[in-house]
């Protein structure tokens, strides 16, 4: 028996584990990946102070801290189901069934797919896949790539690819789905619009090249232009054209770009081929919250947070006894915010285990999440603060209703 079980060894789960162990709890962390760090592993960028944020080093540091405090880890362990039985959370993995009274879900985020004709060809991958191959496993995803989808993540990863000596031939947009498609595939189209809408295509298309000269791109340029090094903006960015097809016999050989009119049709004669041996698709991130759904948490759709998120408090509790959430499962933000949330969750779990005098610490930790958010370097949604308030309002309403009943 453990005082707490944590699913996910990303920055949120690791920080929560460290916090629990510091408060004398016996915790175990489960992760389906082969090592600790989650999506922090692939991250690599230069911060405003000129220091590089090296995700591998940060992950190793957190992991070592946890191990030194006696936290146990089980890697290669995917959790397929959880349920609440006799006041205990039961966690099912392929190898064993575990039990605990305090369970933290820190499963992070996933990338939204954007179907483009030809996207099943080997060599087409999500932009995060290319990041992990390059920075974590140190294998080039290819020699020359095209990135479809322009957002904070794809811009950052384009730079990381260049840094590793992989050529990025173009950053481009996908062809947007047409309204008529909604009738044919309502769910798919709605899903893709939900996940993509805040991240990229439509506003870029609308504003066109004028936008490029605007403030946003300047900020992006400043953010991703390392002082001594790679010229991120050597990468051609195509905003007027969209990828209409990825072609190749048995694997990617290139993409076809074309100008698209307002009806979504290709303007004849504008097609242009770009040779590439790999293609990255960047559809934006959404919270990976299946386990919270299985558990029976109520969900809210908060666009600013990247999609459906389980209802939770600032103290990282869900509406279910002994079930907590932290990190990107609660909304898409950077690793530092995820870690700060993990600290709050760890304290809340310790308090629930009977550790006393934690109230002030929890208040401080919640404040620290907010400060970290305010100073966040990479923001996935400009209205993140608004999204956080929405979920807080929902929580308050829920609590009032429960009290009335």
């Amino acid at each position: 028996m453990h005082n707490g079980i944590i699913i996910g060894a990303g920055p949120a789960g690791l920080t929560a584990a460290v916090t629990c162990a510091e408060n004398g709890l016996d915790v175990i962390v489960l992760d389906e990946y082969m090592r600790a760090g989650g999506r922090l592993l692939g991250q690599l960028y230069e911060q405003p102070d000129g220091k590089w944020w090296n995700g591998i080093k940060e992950s190793e540091r957190l992991f070592q801290q946890a191990v030194d405090l006696g936290v146990q880890f089980r890697f290669g362990t995917a959790v397929s189901n959880i349920e609440y039985l006799d006041d205990m959370w039961v966690i099912y993995t392929e190898k064993e069934v575990l039990q605990t009274s305090n369970l933290l879900l820190a499963t992070g985020a996933a990338e939204s797919p954007v179907p483009v004709p030809g996207w099943t060809l080997p060599g087409v991958m999500s932009v995060g896949a290319a990041q992990v191959m390059t920075n974590v496993h140190r294998v080039k995803p290819g020699e020359r790539g095209v990135i479809i989808g322009i957002n904070v993540l794809s811009a950052a990863i384009a730079m990381e690819l260049q840094l590793a000596g992989v050529e990025v031939a173009s950053l481009t947009l996908p062809r947007m789905s047409e309204v008529t498609d909604v009738e044919a595939h309502p769910k798919e189209v709605m899903d893709s619009l939900l996940h993509v809408s805040h991240m990229a295509p439509s506003p870029f298309v609308k504003l066109g090249s004028k936008f490029m000269k605007g403030d946003f791109m300047k900020k992006m340029g400043a953010a991703f232009y390392p002082k001594n090094g790679v010229k991120m903006w050597d990468i051609p960015i195509q905003l007027r054209k969209a990828v209409i097809e990825i072609y190749g016999e048995n694997q990617v050989e290139g993409v076809t770009l074309a100008t698209i009119n307002s009806k979504g049709d290709v303007v004849p004669g504008t097609e242009e081929n770009i040779a590439a041996d790999f293609v990255c698709i960047a559809g934006g991130l959404y919270p990976l919250a299946e386990l919270a759904a299985i558990a029976g948490c109520p969900f809210y759709l908060v666009e600013e947070l990247g999609g459906y998120v389980p209802l939770h408090s600032e103290e990282m509790e869900t509406t279910l006894d002994g079930l907590y959430v932290a990190g990107n499962i609660t909304g898409i933000e950077g690793a530092k915010v995820a870690a700060a949330q993990g600290h709050v969750a760890g304290l809340s779990i310790a308090r629930n285990n009977g550790i006393r005098s934690l109230d002030y610490k929890i208040m401080d930790a919640i404040q620290h999440v907010k400060t970290t958010r305010d100073h966040a370097y990479i923001q996935f949604h400009p209205q993140i603060q608004k999204g956080r308030s929405k979920i807080q309002d929902q929580w308050n309403t829920y609590q009032r209703n429960v009290q009335e009943v």
């Binding site: 082969m34 996933a110 080997p122 087409v124 992990v132 294998v139 840094l163 048995n250």
Partner: protein
Amino acid sequence: MTDRRILDHPILGEQKSQKEISFTFNQKEYKGLQGEPIAAALLANGVRTLRYHEESGTPRGIYCNIGHCFECRVIINGKQGQRACLTPLEEGMVIESPAPLPTPVRDWRYENA
């Protein structure tokens, strides 16, 4: 080929040396690094196609590289449905692509019929 590997990186530095081991993929022998994901070892050998679609037989490779999409499922030492992007490579591993199913699964929705 080693030039698919990023041995030296301007920020991350030199790749930590790992033990080189042998494995087979579809009966062919390859070399890879102990503990790296199978998908990375194959890509370092220039292999992108991991399997063929159950119905259409068209080739498939990795998509998400972090365990979410199951596009990379292969047979490892006889065990089906294993994710190549999550499974660490070990000496002597026998890896195979699942073949298209003999009785194709059909999509009966009218728009695809």
